[in-house]
């Protein structure tokens, strides 16, 4: 396959950035999308140009490090697939492909296609956990969990924190990410004591990080490589409402 790539190049946070066109020939349909970028970068290095910076690590769809807007779609055209698992057989010979970084005010560009997603870590630090210091745990079987709840908790816990939901959202909202963690923990008995302080803490951290609000545009779930369901946000809203009604700012268990 022969392709034309138009890639966002930006030297650093201060640079304005621009799209640059690169032809790439002899692409095998069995290559992954990132392997195709590897081929381009090898060529750029040898010709003395700066290779395209992009984040990636596990290349098997689980670490959440990669994230590219491909023709305007977060992670590209294939549903339920991260950019690293997207293969070139999804594209046609002769196609022009636009590649851009995630665009959201809470995810500033570091360089080229690399963005800073540390805001996600701050949301987790604000309550996305169960307080269970090492050594304090009771016997694992002391609290059974209904299989349906355990399975639903797992569905939400499958979030890889890649940020596709934010990139796809017209408001740049991080609600699906936040709701996924809240849903996981609120479905489990272990998550109950901190349930309402957690939701306040995480939503506050979300807003402080500069993410937009959720207006139910519904763009996030289709873009999510793990298919985190949209109703997690409804669950977040209910818990948030309960928490504010209870005035549960810092009173665990209230």
């Amino acid at each position: 396959m022969n392709l034309t790539l138009r890639i966002w190049r930006q030297k650093g946070p201060e640079d304005k950035g621009r799209m640059v066109t690169y032809p790439v020939d002899d692409v095998s349909p069995d290559m992954s999308f990132l392997e195709m970028l590897d081929v381009l970068n090898e060529r750029l290095i040898l010709s003395g140009e700066d290779p395209v910076a992009f984040d990636h690590d596990c290349r098997e769809g689980i670490c959440g490090m990669c994230g590219l807007m491909i023709n305007g779609d977060a992670h590209g055209p294939q549903r339920g697939t991260t950019a690293c698992q997207l293969h070139m057989r999804q594209f046609k010979d002769g196609e022009t492909i636009d590649i851009e970084p995630w665009r959201a005010s809470a995810f500033p560009v570091v360089k080229d296609l690399v963005v800073n997603r540390s805001a996600f870590d701050r949301i987790i630090a604000a309550g996305g956990y169960v307080t269970a210091p090492t050594g304090s745990a009771p016997e694992a079987h002391s609290t059974p969990v209904a299989k349906a709840n355990a399975d639903a908790a797992f569905e939400s816990a499958a979030c890889i924190g890649c940020g596709a939901c934010v990139a796809a959202c017209p408001n740049g909202s991080g609600m699906l990410f936040t709701a996924a963690k809240l849903t996981q923990l609120s479905l489990l008995p272990q998550g109950q004591p901190e349930r309402y302080t957690r939701v306040i803490g995480m939503v506050d951290a979300h807003d402080e990080a500069g993410f937009g609000g959720c207006t139910n545009a519904g763009e996030c779930t289709p873009a999510c490589p793990k298919g985190i369901p949209l109703d997690t946000i409804g669950r977040l809203n209910r818990d948030y409402l309960t928490a504010t009604a209870k005035g549960a700012n810092n009173t665990p268990g209230s």
Binding site: K11, G12, S28, D30, M31, S32, L34, E35, M36, D38, E42, L44, I45, L46, G48, E49, D50, P51, A53, D55, D57, C58, R59, E60, G61, I62, C63, G64, Q78, Q85, L86, V110, K111, R117, S118, F120, D121, I124, A125, A126, G128, Y129, V130, P133, T134, G135, A137, A140, H141, P144, V145, K147, A150, D151, F154, A158, Q184, L185, Q190, G191
Partner: protein, 645 residues
């Protein structure tokens, strides 16, 4: 010139005496404690945020120490433990199927082909049960039965069902549990988190580990960070083979730099080749993808009986298929340990019976399981793995058997540590895959997660206190001459890499190094091959320093510079791996020497000569390393020819 010299044996591993089941209890009681008020004044550096590093950093912070944590990824949640699929072992015996701490201990020592330390392995089996409790309390969504209790499944090398799992994403869920505990401590100000930072040097002051030199991968700034103790949890070195199931960034630099500063590197040749990976599809391949070992619970491995049978697998009748694992190993069948399954796959492919376009593949067939249990049941168990397979290969494994082939997956070798997980450098602790400890010459499936969390949650936090309590250490800061020297070395190295400005990319060297290693230091090794490899590695390494081209500068985000530094260290490690493999004139676990096999082709150990840990000491560039032997004594599990027949 000789390849190595022999030094003094290692006499003491600091394991307490007495019966094996009492040793950890004894050690915990004898270990000195640090007063809670003093912990706040002590700083511990933890490099790496996987299961071992993440859990250690969180736990140390909970205990009151000031922790500085480092990872090269953009978030601690992305460490490669996240990719572990199958599960985590624990001797809970919830199935009432005869499991016990002693059986897990026994299986692990035997599975490691009698090349691990009994004391350490027993402790691992003991704390395995606490790990499950801890993770459940954190909200890790393990798979459950309808009654609400935890589900378990079988894994290779065991005849009990002791593997706990969270669908095919167990590593992810366990890591997120540790990550969330870590984020809680970050939020409380007890951990100073430094993502996108890479350790490039260890700082020793008066022979003790007191700090590290790190590069900020965004700005390129190189700085020195000091502490009272340093913990390396930087993972394994499988990427020396270029193609492996490791994440692209996984590297040996942290442990290799410590090795060059005096830490012994133990058993570097023990690498695990995982039998069930998706085969290579072409020269562009940048990494290999694992298909969880759990698939061997229901998938049957086979190849055609006749060489060169190119028929569609569906057209090959039952009696013309060779379910070779079931045939050769009737009692364990498709669930033989990894080293055995991998070598068997290699053997049938060498015979010309491999399948797929490259003929380097065997079938993993679910047709029987789908008939027996129904498609829905298979989907529930393995759905995400089947989808992943289809995305990568374009083939539907519900309809066509999967094609799999072995790939490098895990490294049992690593920095030498004593019973306290302390290296031979005081104050330098090594945990998780980065140390050599518990798996001997072959790791059993679902035991890596167990070891990472055992080390991080339970073992290190106890043993490091004993070291810290022996202080107080002198106050030192980044202006100490040793710190300045280490930093200058790093800056000099970065400058040298950038200055070559040759005509070959880093990846082209890495790929070539990987081919040498896979050919001669992979699934089967021989004296002639290893000697050849050593020569080839040396000349390739020389070419690297003359011809590599690294673009850009050191003062920016520069991924080609990051790779160059890692590959430069892989060259040095590769040579030591080959020397270790060459000196070990026996076969054991993942280390298979062609000259040492039983008449039916199984690994032939030589316990009289090689029942020891080979701990290598670095001397100087171009000088032979020194071999220190730690004798292994087996008081409880008596070495036998491992049989899974």
């Amino acid at each position: 010139m000789e390849l190595f010299t022999e030094g003094d044996p290692i006499a003491d591993t600091k394991a307490p005496a007495g019966p094996v089941e009492k040793r950890w209890e004894t050690r915990r009681f004898e270990a000195k404690l640090v007063n809670p008020a003093n912990r706040r004044k002590m700083t511990v550096i933890v490099v790496g945020t996987g299961l071992a590093g993440g859990s250690a950093a969180a736990t140390l912070a909970e205990q009151g120490y000031h922790v500085k944590s480092y990872c090269y990824q953009d978030s601690p949640r992305r460490a490669h433990s996240i990719a572990a699929q199958g599960g985590i072992n624990a001797a809970k015996n919830y199935r009432n199927d005869g499991d016990s701490v002693h059986r897990l201990f026994y299986d692990t020592v035997k599975g490691g082909d009698f090349r691990s330390r009994e004391s350490n392995v027993h402790r691992l089996a003991e704390v395995s049960v606490n790990i499950i409790d801890q993770c459940v309390a954190q909200g890790v969504p393990f798979a459950r039965e309808y009654g609400g209790l935890l589900d378990t499944r079988s894994f290779g090398g065991a005849q009990v069902q002791r593997t706990f799992y969270a669908r095919g994403q167990t590593g992810q869920q366990l890591l997120l549990g540790a990550y969330q505990a870590l984020e809680r401590q970050i939020g409380l100000g007890n951990v100073e988190m430094n993502a996108r930072h890479e350790m490039l040097e260890l700082v020793l002051v008066d022979g003790k580990a007191r700090g590290i030199v790190v590069r900020d991968l965004v700005t390129g700034e190189i700085s020195t960070e000091m502490a009272d103790a340093v913990v390396l949890a930087s993972g394994g070195y499988g990427n020396v083979f270029y193609l492996s199931t490791n994440a692209k960034g996984c590297n040996v630099t942290a442990t290799w730099r410590a090795h060059r500063k005096g830490a012994y590197f133990a058993n570097p040749c023990y690498t695990q080749i995982h039998p069930t990976c998706i085969p290579v599809s072409g020269d562009h391949q940048s990494k290999l993808t694992l298909m969880s070992e759990s698939l061997r619970n229901d998938g049957r491995v086979w190849v055609p009986k006749t060489k060169g049978d190119d028929r569609n697998p569906k057209d090959i009748p039952e009696d013309e298929r060779d379910y070779y694992l079931e045939r050769i190993y009737p009692s364990f069948g498709n669930l033989v340990p990894r080293d055995i399954a991998s070598r068997a796959a290699k053997n049938v492919c060498d015979e010309g019976r491999g399948v797929g376009p490259t003929k380097l593949g065997v079938y993993l067939d679910f047709a029987d399981a789908i008939n027996r249990l129904g498609r829905k049941a298979i989907e529930a168990k393995y759905g995400n793995l089947f989808e992943m397979y289809e995305r990568i290969t374009g083939e539907d494994p519900y309809e066509v058997p999967m094609r799999i082939y072995p790939a490098v997956h895990y490294t049992m070798g690593g920095l030498w540590v004593d019973y306290d997980l302390q290296s031979n450098i005081p104050g330098l602790f090594v945990i998780g895959e980065a140390n050599f400890s518990d798996h001997g010459a072959n790791r059993l499936g679902a035991s890596a997660l167990m070891q990472g969390l055992a080390d991080g949650y339970f073992v290190l936090p106890t043993t490091i206190a004993n070291y810290l309590a022996s202080g107080p250490l002198d106050k030192v800061d980044a202006s100490h001459p040793a710190a300045i020297e280490a930093r200058n070395d790093v800056e000099d190295r970065v400058r040298r890499l950038l200055a070559v400005n040759g005509d070959r990319t880093v990846d082209s060297f890495h790929r070539e190094l990987g081919q040498i290693m896979w050919e001669h230091c992979g699934m089967e090794r021989s004296e002639a091959g290893l000697r050849k490899a050593i020569g080839e590695i040396r000349s390739l390494r020389e070419a690297f320093w003359q011809r590599v081209k690294v673009s850009g500068t050191g003062e920016e985000l520069n991924q080609s510079l990051e790779k160059a530094g890692r590959v430069a260290d892989f060259f040095e490690l590769a040579e030591l791996m080959c020397i270790d493999a060459l000196h070990r004139e026996e076969s054991c676990g993942g280390h298979f020497r062609a000259e040492h096999q039983t008449p039916d082709g199984e690994a032939q150990r030589d316990d009289d000569r090689f029942a020891y840990v080979a701990a290598w000491e670095f001397t100087a560039d171009g000088e032979p390393s020194v071999l220190h032997k730690e004798d292994l004594k087996f008081e409880y599990v008596h070495p036998t020819q491992r049989s899974y027949k």
